[in-house]
Assembly symmetry: C2
Homo-oligomer: 345 residues x 2
């Protein structure tokens, strides 16, 4: 409630001096006054008015965290532990660096651009941005932007991104599946309109198949709806004999777990009838039965890296890696089993 001016008055000094104390410009203030002002600041519980700060400095110490997602196709907004985990990490890290976090979900790039301007955001962290909009956003925003898990068109712009070795993840899992004799594999993910984590993972699968002289057809990329009802309809079709696929590789544990569970409830044995694999290695993978064979990623690290890269950008420090690919690790559990008579590797 108290303003700098009031503090100054009470201390019998000028506002400038108080401001200097506040900003640690102790060299410009005599020790006696320093102490006195600090005491009053404490006593009055001085809290700056960020409105004035924004106005005077033209920045806000707010970082916008934007989740690109549909209004709410179902309940799937933040329920995926991946989203909530990274959000929690981001909040923690940003706070540690003295920044405030403004959380926003959107699908409209103009809204994001406006948000940045209105709030004089110091930086932006964008999650799940399709590559069509990442270019536009990048172009029209001057403040530092760090993308998480994004892929970009080749438009000559500089992007800063924290991602995963998605191709590798797909590759490793496909290899594993192949080694268990699964040549009829489907990759299950949201349909990407453009390069994305999902398409990269699928490419990895393809590579693994090609290495074995096999071809993973386009139709083996089965688009999965964000609506659980629609998904379940799909699973039902997949259960029909004769089985089209012997292994289903989901691009997230969230979907994989959902599927395993759906199958279980209908007495369709996993991995007896069909093998299932996931991606993320989050709590879901160890909650369902059988526990998921999946691709591990370190979401905490992702959040930490994103914030630390953003901080470097804000401080205008050099950023060496502009497109970080965090490692993945194949994690074998119980949801994949060898095809009868074809146990290799």
């Amino acid at each position: 409630m108290a303003t700098i001016k009031q503090i100054a008055q009470k201390a019998g000094v000028s506002p400038t001096t108080v401001s200097n104390v506040l900003h640690g410009n102790t060299s410009k203030v005599s020790p006696a006054i320093l102490k006195k002002v600090r005491a009053i600041l404490e006593e009055e519980k001085y809290a700056p008015n960020m409105g004035a700060v924004i106005l005077a400095r033209n920045n806000s110490r707010i970082i916008g965290v934007i989740l690109f997602m549909e209004p709410r196709s179902d309940e799937t907004v933040l329920e995926d532990p991946f989203a909530s985990t990274i959000l929690g990490t981001l909040e923690q890290e940003l706070r540690k660096h003295g920044y405030f976090m403004m959380l926003h979900t959107s699908v409209d790039k103009d809204e994001v651009i406006r948000l940045a301007a209105t709030w004089k955001l110091d930086g932006l962290i964008l999650l799940c941005v399709p590559s069509e909009v990442s270019g536009a956003v990048r172009k029209s925003i001057q403040t530092p932007v760090v993308f998480v898990d994004c892929y970009f068109g080749d438009d000559g712009q500089d992007y800063h991104n924290i991602g995963l070795d998605d191709d590798r993840g797909g590759y490793e899992m496909a290899r594993h599946l192949l080694s268990k004799g699964h040549t009829r594999m489907a990759f299950m993910a949201n349909s990407p309109d453009s390069p994305s984590v999902d398409s990269a993972r699928f490419d990895g699968c393809r590579r693994a198949f090609a290495e074995e002289g096999l071809d993973l057809a386009d139709v083996c990329y089965i688009p999965v709806s964000k609506s659980s009802k629609a998904r379940h309809l799909l699973y039902r079709r997949l259960m029909a004999e004769p089985l089209e696929y012997t292994a289903l590789f989901f691009s997230s544990d969230y979907y994989a777990a959902d599927a395993v569970n759906y199958f279980y409830e209908r007495g369709f044995d996993v991995p007896g009838r069909v093998s299932v694999a996931g991606f993320d290695d989050n709590c879901f993978s160890r909650l369902v039965r059988p526990h998921l064979t999946t691709v591990h990623q370190d979401v905490f690290q992702k959040g930490r890296s994103a914030v630390s890269m953003l901080m470097r950008l804000i401080r205008k420090e050099p950023v060496h890696e502009t497109d970080v690919r965090l490692p993945v690790r194949l994690t074998i559990r119980d949801s994949v089993r060898p095809i009868e008579g074809t146990p290799r590797a």
Copy 2:
């Protein structure tokens, strides 16, 4: 980037007129000018500077959403689907009402108070606040505050809270357990230092036991750690024969699912050896095997109610119910089974 002044210049009108257009005071502006100004606004992609707005109006259109939680005992920050679901709902609802959401986790009441002052927050939504701090926060903050799932001391202050019929939830589950012959039941929850959702649920259990002429002793409230390692140590002890309890009633599906899973991995059959019940009825409950018998709550409704109550508070509209208790519903699945030879009800 453009300011009101610049827009005004370009349109050949005064800043006030532009401001009037912006605020929909169309009655004060001639149609011709209105149209012209609107066009320029659009063309220049005018975005207000919130710093100036805060300064001039002394409020920010920001709602602070505060999660009270320890720094990070484990990975349990936002992983509980309850937290992420309500967060997603809050974001969506606040945005719908034209507010911005500042997300913050904290355990320090002074930090919250300072936050409200620095940012001239229009309102606050506080989650998981222990009753020791809710009083202090309530006292020293002038802006509207809505608590979610909080219990308060009887200090004569007005609190606005969206909660659950926790007592009822505990009661119903305990009754169900009793009807299946489970007289040796443990209630598993974080240890509350004060009235809380957990203590209310336990009280409900007690009530149900009392109705049967049974006493549910204090020791049947088993505190559960936020660290999964510590929890698992506890579960191990619980598995030791002879079984102390025949039913474990967890205060969240998150913990219940974790326990069921722990037991499963050790070949300890649920509900064969021990029955397990949860609370929340979130996605976890239908992911584990057996699916959890649990107490259903509508988290979306909770979020919506919280925001709508806050909006009424902000608009200074009368708020009739100050402590809303949303209903709960016993949801029977497969994790509880009758005790041998004691099937009643």
